[in-house]
Assembly symmetry: C2
């Protein structure tokens, strides 16, 4: 869905770049060509047979779930090591084995090269569209030969698969680029290229380090997804609620709960990876929420409701701050 | 908002009934007449001076917050008592004081009268649009002379005041009529009139007793509203989240959290009444949720993620059941 949406967003530009779609199945390959979403389509095994042919690309955007993106990054690393060796080096490495000796001695990046022609033989910049960042920065830090900057486009859908693509998915959405705390930074000109790329599909671009990203996203996205799933589960498990709601001519569910449950039970594969790779901050966020809930229950239970109006007004103020809404009261 | 929306829904009918709007302020009175939402407008004090003139109405729909609706019901009761006395009785009461002696001896309703003309001198049926039901049934049970059937239209908006009206607010929404466990039932023909009334503005009508209603609504609406407010509060109170989100060119909030926070901090006055009058079931629901959260935290903390895919798929199934969606996976 994300990859096909990106391809569609690129192909509706005035002067569209050439797009190769790399997909999981032969049927997806046929589908994206039939629907003119790419100039060329490869199944993943075909792409993996590529070696220095990947030089023909300017940018590789990994669009798989996080763990699979991590594996692809590891699999791409030898090409970058080989290239470094074959080209006499964009770095100090002189071994074709990319993992040798680089574990704990971050390579110095080459100085920025202002000449565009120098990039003829360069290997493509790799980015991705994953929802957690520390895991991928750890993978990338084990392969400093990679040219990699992580991207997190803040958009998505409950639907999966290329046929769910939307050609305005990235329009006006935030894309967070990662400044790693674990690796030396890619040159500013490489960041600039990636900023221009995302801006070309209508996105707003910002930067965070991977730790801040994962903490903030746990609160603003990951834990709320779990809360939504939990709300569906707890509600449906109360027998009278399930029975009476089931017997109603139309569901008794108000619009509020309906909105709160939109993301309940989202794509389990994708969310398993998010949960695995951001467990620490998701737990912190869920525990903060549990403490808040304990306090709320105690207050509702024991006190007069003198606190209510203030609490509720503050909740509204917080909600407006979080979502960037104007004051509405 | 609810009252003005109801008036607008009635007035766009082919053969609209005559509508009198009873409003809190002189400025609202002017506003609803200027906007042609009613044939006649009264400020509440004017309406309260009405006595048996209210016979000219077929139906009174109380659209204030719950506690205010309860007070209005109590204030209307003497008229119904007086009428009963003046008319020689639609019931066994013979005192103009409606509260005298009726507390624990539910009156017998008159037999259903099939002749429509008999309603000439009858006092109007009273209904309301409140979100909790036990409180109002308790009030009504103290005034068995009232002709009252509670209605809960399952619709609303974060916006308040007549200018926020929507003339399709009730279209395709559920209206729950109450079969009281505390009072003898109004005649079937009175229920039928009320069903026809709500159907005329496009609503689907069902029935519940007040206890089932308040339990089910605690889970399907009231507690989720508190969870939404709490989610806003907990999220905004983590300092890094507030700071980093505030510094972002556009808020980092994904669409999921944005939907979950739509109802955060809704109208404190209205929700104070809901909380006061349905505290027991709201607490039960919040505690169920807290227990579910404890279990979820423990599972995320200690286990492998073997459970995740099943749990998440079940959440999706529950969500589809609750909302009445087709299976989507």
């Amino acid at each position: 869905m994300m990859g096909a949406s990106l391809a569609a967003s690129l192909r509706k530009q005035k002067d569209p770049p050439s797009v190769t779609g790399v997909v999981r199945s032969e049927s997806s390959k046929k589908w994206i060509l039939d629907n003119n979403l790419a100039d060329e389509a490869l199944a993943i095994p075909e792409f993996k047979q590529y070696s220095l042919e990947i030089r023909k690309y300017d940018l590789i955007v990994l669009g798989m779930p996080i763990a699979a993106n991590g594996r692809l990054l590891t699999e791409l690393a030898p090409l970058y090591g080989e290239s470094r060796w074959a080209n006499g080096g964009r770095s100090s490495g002189d071994s074709p084995d990319p993992s040798a000796g680089s574990e704990s001695s971050p390579l110095k990046r080459p100085a920025e090269n202002d000449s565009d022609s120098a990039s003829d033989s360069a290997l493509p910049l790799i980015t991705d569209m994953s929802s957690t960042r520390t895991f991928l920065e750890e993978v990338a830090s084990r392969h400093p030969e990679l040219t990699f900057i992580g991207s997190h486009p803040m958009c998505g859908s409950e639907d999966a698969g290329p046929s769910a693509f939307r050609d305005r998915l990235f329009q006006d959405r935030l894309v967070i680029l990662i400044r790693s705390t674990l690796r030396p930074s890619e040159p500013e000109s490489t960041y600039e290229k990636l900023r221009i790329f995302w801006a070309s599909v209508g996105s707003r671009v910002s930067e965070l380090n991977e730790v801040d990203h994962d903490l903030v996203l746990a609160y603003l996205s990951h834990a709320p997804h779990l809360v939504s799933s939990l709300l569906a589960t707890v509600t449906a498990k109360r027998p009278e609620v399930a029975r009476i709601n089931g017997e109603s001519p139309i569901p008794i569910t108000g619009g509020g709960l309906r909105d709160m449950l939109r993301i309940a039970g989202s794509n389990p594969e994708m969310w398993q990876d998010i949960l695995t790779t951001n467990r620490k901050y998701i737990l912190e966020s869920l525990k903060d929420f549990r403490n808040g809930l304990d306090e709320l229950i105690q207050t509702v239970e024991t006190d007069s409701l003198d606190w209510w109006s203030d609490w509720q007004n503050r909740s509204r103020k917080y909600r407006n701050e979080i979502c960037g809404y104007e004051e509405d009261r």
